[in-house]
Structures are given as C-alpha cells and as structure tokens.
C-alpha cells in the first residue's frame, strides 16, 4: 500500500469504527497504524478488550448527546441570527436528572469491571508458575513449578537482542526498519536473546518482582501489566490459547535503558513445552555435576536458584 493509501485507510477506519477496526486478534505485536487495543490471547485479555470497547461506546454515546447539544446551541442561538437570550438560571429537576443518570451509567460500567477484576485476582490453581524479576535493564525468568511438581533450576536472563541493541545506539547508522525476524516481522526493539517459553492452554501464574528499581512487566496479549517492585511479590495470571510469539515492553520508567528491555513470550503446545522443560532441567543438572566435579571434591552448596 502506498503511504497516502495507508493514511486514507487509517482515517477511514478511524471515522468508521475506531473500535473493531484496529483490533488485532491474537497478533502478538503492534502493527503500523494500529488504532485499538489488542484482543490478546488470554481469557483475561478478551474480557479486558470487551470492557474497553463497552466503555468506549458509552463515552461515544455521552459525547454525541453533549457535543450534539453544544453544536445545536452554537448553530441556533447565535446573536448574528437574531437570537435573544433567555434569562432563566436554574432548574432543579434537570440538575437531579444529570446527577442521577450518570450514576446509573457508572454502575453499569462498574459491574463488569468488578467481575473481571475479581477474576483477574484469582491466581490459584495454576499449572505453571514463573518468577519474573526485573533488572536494569533485562528480565530474569525462573520456572518455579509445573503441573504441581517443582522445577529444578531452570531460569535465564532475557535481554534485548544484539541486533536491536546495535541499531538503537545514537547515530548507529542502522535503519531500524532493516531489522527483521526470521518470519520477516519488523522486530526492532521487540526482540530478545531468550524468549520466555510457556505452554498453551495452561493457567500460568506469574510472580513478579524486581531487584533494583521498579519495572513494569507488560505483554498486552495477556491483558495486563504488573509493576515489578523490589521487596514485593506481585502475582497475576494468564492463559494463552493460541501458540505464537507475544511481545511487550517494560512499562515503568526504570532509568536510561527503560526503552530497551522488551519481553517476548513464545507459547508452544503443552507437549512441546514438556520436552523443552525436561531438556532445560537435565542441562541444569549436568551443569551442576560438571561444576561440582571441577571445583571441589566435597558436595557443592545448595544451588542458589
């Protein structure tokens, strides 16, 4: 599409329904000219998307009434058209109406919001628990347990991929648009060296904290962000229904490289995940043995996760 055609299309979308138009179901990353929130890939993100659209249309409705009245007033009651001002100054019944009606509208908004929030706060019965730790400026992921069984020493640092890091430097001379993933996606600043691998159709509990300053762990496809606060544990949950790659970013200002600590989740089938996790665990075990043998003949101290 040509540049002008794209603008035209975008404007048409904006005018028609800013709503459904920009929505991108199960696309795990932002797209050019995107107008709207992603519907995401998790039960929560679908609910949040519906709530967002509901609130949006309520606002559009109120806007049509209020701005409509203003426009009519500005057209009809112009002095230049001979309008003569009335002198009335108040009307108690009107005041009561426009106090009570908004309260009812707000209740209608608060009810679904409350329901979703209660659902969101229910982090029990998770099939997988992942600990997320924010660092300046990278994330660490540790797998805590899977299907009720503790995971032994699987964890890694995930940071901005090397090509993005190179291109992002001031006057690097590298065009951000030249960076492509293997699938041809423009992944500048949204690619990492090690993605977080998770199984689909599994309730995942994320326990989120930070080591230095406050970060914000946000993958829009999950439908929420959670601040990572040093000294505190923040838990949230997600369940991804479609295999794929889901990208996000640190949302809370955390210093000079705040823009450069993306999050990439790779969702694979439970079977594939099982295999991946087993391989990671045995590699961790081999590592430990190798290190123990090399360093000291006595048993090594308990691993520090």
């Amino acid at each position: 599409m040509s540049w002008t055609a794209r603008i035209g299309a975008a404007l048409a979308l904006a005018a028609g329904s800013a709503a459904a138009a920009g929505a991108t179901a199960a696309v795990g990353h932002p797209v050019p000219w995107q107008l709207n929130m992603t519907e995401g890939a998790s039960p929560l993100s679908h609910q949040v998307y519906d709530l967002h659209m509901y609130a949006f249309w309520v606002c559009v409705g109120i806007g049509i009434v209020v701005f409509g009245a203003m426009i009519v007033a500005m057209m009809r009651f112009r002095k230049s058209r001979g309008a003569v001002a009335e002198t009335w100054t108040h009307n108690t019944r009107l005041e009561v109406i426009w106090t009570v009606v908004p309260v009812l509208i707000l209740i209608a908004l608060a009810l679904p919001a409350t329901r979703i929030l209660i659902n969101e706060s229910n982090t029990g019965d998770a099939g997988l628990t992942v600990k997320v730790t924010g660092f300046q400026w990278k994330w660490r992921y540790d797998y805590v347990d899977y299907q009720g069984r503790p995971v032994s020493r699987v964890g890694f640092i995930s940071k901005l991929a090397f090509n993005s890091d190179e291109a992002r430097q001031l006057d690097s001379g590298i065009n951000p648009r030249s960076l492509k993933s293997k699938t041809g996606y423009d992944d500048y600043l949204l690619n990492v060296n090690h993605a977080l691998v998770v199984p689909t159709h599994t309730k995942i509990r994320f326990v989120i904290t930070a080591d230095d300053v406050i970060h914000g762990w946000w993958v829009p496809a999950l439908g929420w962000q959670a601040d990572a606060v040093p000294g505190l544990i923040h838990d949230m949950w997600g369940e991804i229904d479609t295999p794929g790659t889901y990208r996000g970013q640190c949302a809370q200002l955390c210093g000079q490289d705040h823009a450069y600590m993306p999050i990439v989740i790779k969702a694979v089938s439970p079977a594939a995940f099982q295999g991946w996790l087993a391989a990671q665990e045995s590699r961790a075990r081999l590592d430990t043995i190798a290190r123990t043998v090399q360093v000291t003949p006595v048993p090594a101290p308990a691993p520090q996760g």
């Binding site: 932002p30 203003m70 409350t114 929030l117 946000w218 601040d227």
Partner: protein, 536 residues
C-alpha cells in the same frame, strides 16, 4: 504588560523599576509578574517538549541520549506544572480576585511579593541542574524511588526547588483565602461571588492541604539519599510504595489544583458571550466543592498496577468513577448556559468552547482509565499521556489563554487583535488534536510512555503527533505576538465593560484598571453582580 506605569496618576512620584517590581505589593503588578513568569516557563517547558517530539519523530535515536531524554520528560513536566500552569492561575487570581470581590488589594500584600519572588529562584535552582555533572533529575516528575535515588546530587537541588515552590504556593493560597474571606465588599455574599473566585477559594484550600504532603515526601527522599534513612528502601526495611501513596495523596488533588481555576474562568466566559446568566450557579459551586473533597479519596488510581489488594482496587475504582458525576454536572451546566443564549464567538469564547469539548474528551479517557482491568492495559502508556494532555493542555492551558484574552482589555485598556486571536485559536485547536489524539492509538497499540525510541509499528502515529507538536509550539508565538501587540501597540481602546454581556464588579472599574481600585468599598447596586438572583 508594563504599561500601567503611565496610569499611575494617584502617586506623587513615579517609582523606579526596582521600587515598582522588586518591592511590588500591588496585586496588579504582582499578577502581571506571575503571568509573565508563567509565559516564560511555558516556553522553556515547551522547548523541552519540542526536543521530546523531535526525538520521537522517527524510530531510532537521532538527537539525544536516552538519559537526556529522561531529563527532558522530567523537567518538562515539573516546569509546566509548577512553573507555567500554577503561577498563571495565581497571576490571574492576583489580578482578578480583588477586582471581583471589590477589595482594594490582596489581604497580605507583602507576603504576596514574597510568594512571587521565591519562584524565579526556585526555577533557577531547578534549571541549573541541567548543567550539573550527572545531569538533571531523570526519574520522571513523580520522582519514584528507588530510581530517583540513583540520580546525582542534582536531586538535592530539585528537592530544594520543590520546597520553595511549595512555600510560594502555600503563601499564595493563604493570601487568596484571606482576601476572599475578609475583604469582600459589603453585599458580596459568599453565594454571590463569581465562580472564578469560588473555584480559587476551593483550590487554595487544596493547596494548603497537599503542598506540605509533597514537601514531606521529597524530604524523605532527601534523607534516604543523603542521610542514610530507609523510608523507601526495601533492603533497609522501607517500602518503595509508601512514597507513591504519599506522592499521589498530593498528586491527585494537584490535578484539580490545575483545573478548578480553569473551570472558574470558563464559568465566567461562557455566560458573558452567551449573554445569559450562568446556569445552575449553586450546583456549580457544590460540584466544585465535591470534586475537591473526592480528590482526596482517589490517589491510588495512579497505582493500580503496583499490586494493590482487591479491596483497595475496588474502592479506588469506585471513588474515581464517582468524581465524574460532579464533573459531568459542570459540563452539563456550561452547555445549558449556552442553550437559548445569544451567542457570539470572540476569541475567549472560542477557547472556552474548545475547552468544554476537549476537556470532556479528556474526561472520557479518564473514566476509561478508572476501570481497573482496562487500566491494566492503559497504564503507563501513551493513552495516559493523551488523557492528561487533553485535560492539561486543551483544558488548563486553554482555560488560561481564554482568561488572558478575556481580561487583557481590562488589564491594558486596549483590545487585542481579534483577527490574530482567532488565527491563534484555530491553529492551536487543530494542532493540539493532531498532537495528542494519535497518542491514544499509540497507547492502545502498546507504546509505553517515557521512551525515546520505539518499534517501527509505532512510527506513523508518532510522526503525525510530532508534526502536531511542532505546529502547536509555533502557534503559541502568535499568542505572544498578540499580547505584545495589545500591551504596546494596540490603538483600539477598551470600554469599562469591554464585553457586551459582561457582569460583575470587575467590569465597573475603567479599562485599564487604575493602579488602585476599590480603595473605598463599592456600593453594590441591583443587577451589578453576575449572580445576585441565585437565592430563589
């Protein structure tokens, strides 16, 4: 705005420059100084915004290092909030409150002098941090620990500057309260006061309530940084979130401090150009008071994503949503004031109408942000940036501009250029939407705020937004030009009433308002006040 020197007929000798301005105790002179100061700060803060938008014009880093970018976002906010918007409102209050209530001056003129002259020193301190080794504070205007404590010694300067601004604001607020409560002309009952006076009275109480809270929060930052305390240090037994609770206990009322006086201005302008009394005067006063009261109960909506317990989230969600009720009442009353009026659209009215529409759009995104599950997606994104710029730029700043056009004939005795006022308006109102509306899309698409660089998917809307930004910035030069023209060059004399539909004591004194007004309390005649028939 220094032309009053010529109108000083009731003084024996013309005072020297230092005498007149440095030792100023006249509310009009001090008001003028506040307004000029605020305009200078508006352009300093604005040029930082231009740097931000220039860097965000395209993906990739072209102009500045990320750390400097963070310094810019931090300083832009501090300067615009404490240097541009708040002093502008205090300046307008200084000029207009005594004129509106029939007082000879502010109640405490020497303190008035002090509260103004603190400000230039506060901002020299704050701006000097840009030239310090290690750079200016770069942790955002919210100054969250632990991040802010990683900054260099410049944070001590920032904290001292904030203390000074706080002292200045508190003294200004005390002065305004004392003036309104003690110096009203006989017959100017509380419930006959113009809305601008009412909103400022309530704002002044908010200031006195929350500025000390901010001072406490930043003092704890200071001791954490330099004296080994651990208020906010988890490793020392403290809590980083404690800071956020204290800060936002100040911060949320602060947003009403920046909008209530604008509500007042709009409530003056719309009746004047509708030639019809303000609809629902009393509900307007009560709505303002309830907004102020509720503003103390909603601070944690800035912290929805920190991991609050479910009960806390629900309470702060409901309380926040509730604020939209009195705010809605105000909007409905403005619209109804216009209904069956006799409307004309001079520049102040144009800005007022744009205020009502664009502020309401900011209110809509505010209601959406209040819904916690939705906020989990909006939080810390450009959606939030769009929201508060709609409220603060096309809200507070448009309110200030509307007030300036509305009252400048009273201040200077000359009419501004209506033609250039309209050119300024149309450029501003279109540019502000090109600038901020696409930021809703960026936020919804997933772009976090406070980042100097972004994925290429965000490139297009960012470019649009930047173009709007440069356009808006340049448009403000028209505003300055029009002010300079009005003060020094305009020929067309303003009448005492200035506007056909204007009512109230401030319009009974000549234009320009003489250096001293209401030295003898005015006798209020029936029909003189804008709101003298509210009792039935």
């Amino acid at each position: 705005m220094a032309t009053h020197a010529g109108t000083h007929d009731d003084h024996d000798a013309k005072p020297g420059f230092a005498q007149r301005w440095l030792f100023a105790t006249n509310h009009k002179d001090i008001g003028t100084m506040y307004l000029v100061f605020s305009l200078i700060m508006f352009f300093i803060g604005g040029s930082m915004a231009m740097i931000i938008r220039a860097e965000l014009f395209e993906p990739g880093l072209q102009l500045v290092q990320p750390y400097f970018f963070n310094e810019m976002t931090t300083m832009h906010a501090l300067i615009m909030i404490f240097g541009a918007v708040m002093p502008a409102f205090v300046g307008l209050a200084n000029w207009m409150v005594p004129l509106m209530v029939g007082a000879p001056d502010m109640a405490l003129p020497r303190m008035n002098n002090w509260s103004f002259w603190i400000l230039p020193f506060a901002f020299v301190l704050l701006l000097s941090t840009l030239f310090m080794p290690g750079g200016a504070p770069a942790a955002g205007w919210v100054m969250y620990p632990p991040l802010v404590l990683q900054g260099g010694d410049s944070i001590a300067f920032m904290i001292f500057a904030i203390h000074l601004m706080g002292i200045s604001s508190i003294m200004g607020a005390i002065n305004i309260i004392a003036t309104i409560l003690n110096l009203r002309a006989p017959g100017m009952d509380l419930l006959k006061m113009p809305l601008f006076v009412w909103t400022w009275l309530i704002t002044a109480f908010l200031l006195i309530a929350v500025m000390p809270v901010l001072a406490g929060a930043v003092t704890m930052l200071l001791t954490d940084k330099f004296f080994g305390t651990s208020f906010f240090n988890a490793a020392g037994g403290g809590d980083p979130l404690l800071y956020q609770h204290i800060f936002w206990f100040f911060g949320h009322p602060e947003v009403y401090i920046m909008i209530l006086p604008a509500f007042g201005i709009i409530s003056e302008i719309i009746p004047t150009f509708s030639r019809k009394p303000l609809f629902g005067y009393k509900p307007m006063v009560y709505a303002t008071a309830s907004i102020a009261f509720l503003s103390f109960t909603v601070w944690a909506h800035h912290m929805f994503t920190v991991g609050l317990p479910l009960g806390g989230l629900l309470f702060f969600m409901y309380a926040t949503m509730l604020i939209s009720v009195p705010t809605g009442v105000k909007v409905f009353n403005w619209v109804t004031t216009m209904w069956k009026g006799s409307l004309t659209f001079e520049t102040p009215m144009l800005f007022a109408v744009a205020f009502v529409i664009l502020f309401t759009i900011g209110g809509f995104s505010g209601v959406m942000l209040a819904l916690v599950p939705a906020d989990f997606q909006y939080h810390n994104t450009y959606f939030v940036v769009a929201h508060f710029h709609y409220v603060l730029v096309s809200g507070a700043v448009f309110g200030i501009m509307a007030g300036t056009y509305y009252w400048i004939p009273k201040w200077t005795g000359h009419m501004y250029s209506e033609r250039w006022g309209k050119i300024h308006f149309w450029n501003s109102v279109i540019a502000v939407n090109v600038l901020f509306f696409p930021q809703h899309f960026l936020g919804l698409a997933g772009m976090p705020r406070r980042i100097p660089d972004y994925n290429v998917a965000f490139a297009d809307w960012n470019m649009v937004s930047s173009i709007g930004g440069f356009w808006f910035g340049l448009s403000q030069l028209i505003f300055v030009g029009n002010i300079i023209y009005t003060v020094y060059f305009a020929r067309q004399k303003a009448s005492a009433r200035v506007w056909e539909g204007a009512r109230g004591l401030e319009w009974t004194v000549p234009s320009p308002a003489p250096h001293h007004t209401f030295e003898v309390p005015p006798v209020i005649l029936p029909g003189m006040l804008a709101h003298d028939d509210v009792s039935h």
